[in-house]
């Protein structure tokens, strides 16, 4: 938190300006990487960007992960983590299918409300356990990851939702476009802008950073740590719920394994995008770009002729690279700040 707030009075010191620029580079760097991937893949195969399917998939594929990653970033900023997002997504995706099957003719908007509400409720359970029981979020949400998935498996059994179970206009949401922009991408962008604005401009949003920087200090300062953490988990759950409904619309088939492994992708996206896993640092913009980079690389590697088996390794290298970079930047910045203090004396 301290780093993002420039001292308002004193004339801007050249060193702190440089530090500010480096800080900005956290998101810029990852954005450049994303653009590089797109450019290289497009040179190799113009269809990657310039065919109508290619352009659509470029925007569409990461949109669902973007929603989950934004929620995850909000939680990580408070120095917590939500491992249950994949299970929440799976459960709401299955609920979506069941609602359409069991209540024929239900308006899709009600299904959206139900999905988001279920997600928010499951997130609230996480938040309550973390905030009141004072158990590390890693443990709590690992538990709920299995519990929510277990509920899903018990509910679905060997059954699956098939595309023919879902109304055509609902499935259209998953691939439809407005002015060439996929509807899912528009939804994700709206959520992203809202979350970014909230975290940057509202007092309660800034408090999330304060809590993540130093929970004890935030508590002593009188911030409502419990309710803020609760809120962060609720947002993460609700966004996973929304992503679950949209998952059903996009993929059409929902089995009890839907969303498995998404929690790690979401955390990966946030971390690659410069959200520090130790809390208090990062933006949802970074997480969003991280989500795009992660999935775009996945799509680009086969085009570049890299074998299936290596693709996961590349993602791993990316995550470790992001963390190392993060650490180097932090060290360099603290050294510069120290130097600046020495100079001032």
């Amino acid at each position: 938190m301290t780093a993002t707030v420039a001292p308002p009075t004193a004339p801007v010191h050249p060193v702190s300006r440089a530090a500010g620029r480096i800080l900005k580079a956290r998101e810029t760097g990852i954005l450049i990487a994303l653009i590089a991937v797109i450019v290289v893949a497009t040179i190799r195969n113009p269809a990657f960007l310039f065919s109508s399917d290619g352009f659509r998939d470029l925007l569409l594929t990461p949109s669902l992960l973007l929603l989950v990653a934004v929620g995850q970033a909000v939680v990580i900023i408070t120095r917590n983590v939500d491992l249950s997002v994949g299970s929440i997504l799976g459960l709401t995706a299955y609920l979506t299918g069941r609602l359409f099957i069991d209540l024929q003719g239900i308006p899709p908007i009600l299904v959206f409300v139900a999905g988001v509400a279920l997600g928010a409720f499951l997130g609230l359970v996480n938040g309550a356990l973390v905030a009141f029981a004072k158990v590390p979020a890693l443990v709590i949400t690992l538990g709920t990851l299995y519990i929510y998935r277990g509920i899903n498996v018990a509910w679905a059994g060997g059954d699956r939702i098939n595309a023919s179970d879902l109304p055509a206009d609902f499935r259209g949401l998953g691939t439809g476009q407005i002015l060439g922009i996929p509807i899912l991408t528009i939804i994700a962008a709206i959520v992203l802008v809202a979350a970014a604005w909230y975290l940057r401009n509202l007092r309660s949003g800034r408090e999330l950073y304060a809590i993540g920087s130093d929970p004890a200090a935030a508590h002593l300062y009188g911030l409502r740590v419990t309710s803020r953490v609760l809120g962060a988990f609720l947002v993460s759950g609700a966004l996973s719920g929304l992503a679950g409904v949209l998952y059903a619309a996009r993929y059409g088939t929902v089995s009890s394994a839907a969303g498995t492994g998404w929690e790690l992708q979401a955390i990966g996206a946030a971390v690659i995008g410069g959200v520090a896993i130790s809390g208090g640092v990062g933006t949802v913009w970074g997480a969003a770009i991280g989500a795009y980079l992660l999935l775009t690389i996945n799509r680009a590697l086969p085009i570049l002729g890299i074998e299936d088996f290596w693709q996961r390794a590349v993602v791993g290298v990316l995550i470790i690279g992001a963390i190392v970079l993060d650490r180097l930047l932090a060290l360099r910045q603290s050294r510069k700040l120290l130097e600046a203090r020495e100079d001032d004396r």
Partner: protein
Amino acid sequence: MFTHDRKRRLGVSITALAVGAALALTGCSAGGGGDAGSSDGASDANLAITFLPKNLGNPYFDTSNAGGEEAIKEFGGTYAEVGPAEASPTSQVTFIQTAAQQGVGGLVVSANDPEAICDALNEARDAGVKVVTFDSDTNPDCRDLFINQATAEGIAKSQVDLIAEQIGDAGQVAILSASANATNQNAWIELMKTDLADNHPNIELVETVYGDDDDQTSFDKTAALLQTYPDLKGIISPTTVGISAAARYLSTSEYKGKVALTGLGTPNQMREYVKDGTVTAFALWNPADLGYLAAYATKALIEGDITGKEGDTFDAGKLGEYEVGADSVVLLGDPYVFNADNIDDFDF
């Protein structure tokens, strides 16, 4: 377990009622037959046959057992269906024991585990029950016959034939498989490669990708395939998850109708895409025929026409004559091809 599918729940409870009634009936008739020597039946063979699927409420087994029921009606036996709610290894044991105590003539089982139900099956066989496995086998020494739905060769050949027919026997094709270490998938893929090389020289297999039997991964791999190979003519996906994900992608892409897709799928998953023209035809065995054949095989065993040794032949009603192969296995035949004309006859 929460609200579940109401329709299906209702269906299951009706089935359960019917099964209960049927059980009571078989119990009576078996007891009566045993005591009095004979009722007014034509033969003294005990044609009470019980189907024991992996679990109840599974559309696949609903279809296969309906085929069995049809066969049993044809030859005048008594049909019953029992089964556990969950497909766990030991859950079938009590049902096997109950059936043996009731003195049914034959038991048709799809095994949840090749080992776990062996003892129970052998006890039933000692009590005079003929045991036939279908769909999923036990160890060969625990049953009299296994009705095999398809061989690896049959599966591989049917898919190569389908894709060759759909793309005019020339051009690039790719395979979308499950996971890279799925034994059955890899066996099929090897056989497909051989078949393509030997019999379809103009078809080039450009790549095999792995969707990990995950909808999302399979979906994205399909997208990558289509972009990577602009001249791709067809995709073979020998996994039910893969083919439906690929169909879903194709159905909303610019390649719809231009790139052929076939593989192994279930009608419920594929109905949408067959109707909208994304997919022309795909294969799977017909579970109804599988149950039908199993019922006739059981009848042949009960009546003593066959003993399960290699070379035995028996009549299977509308399906014709079948011969027992090595290891007491009867092969249903080539996979069944589903297309727009017949897909509405199936619900599984």
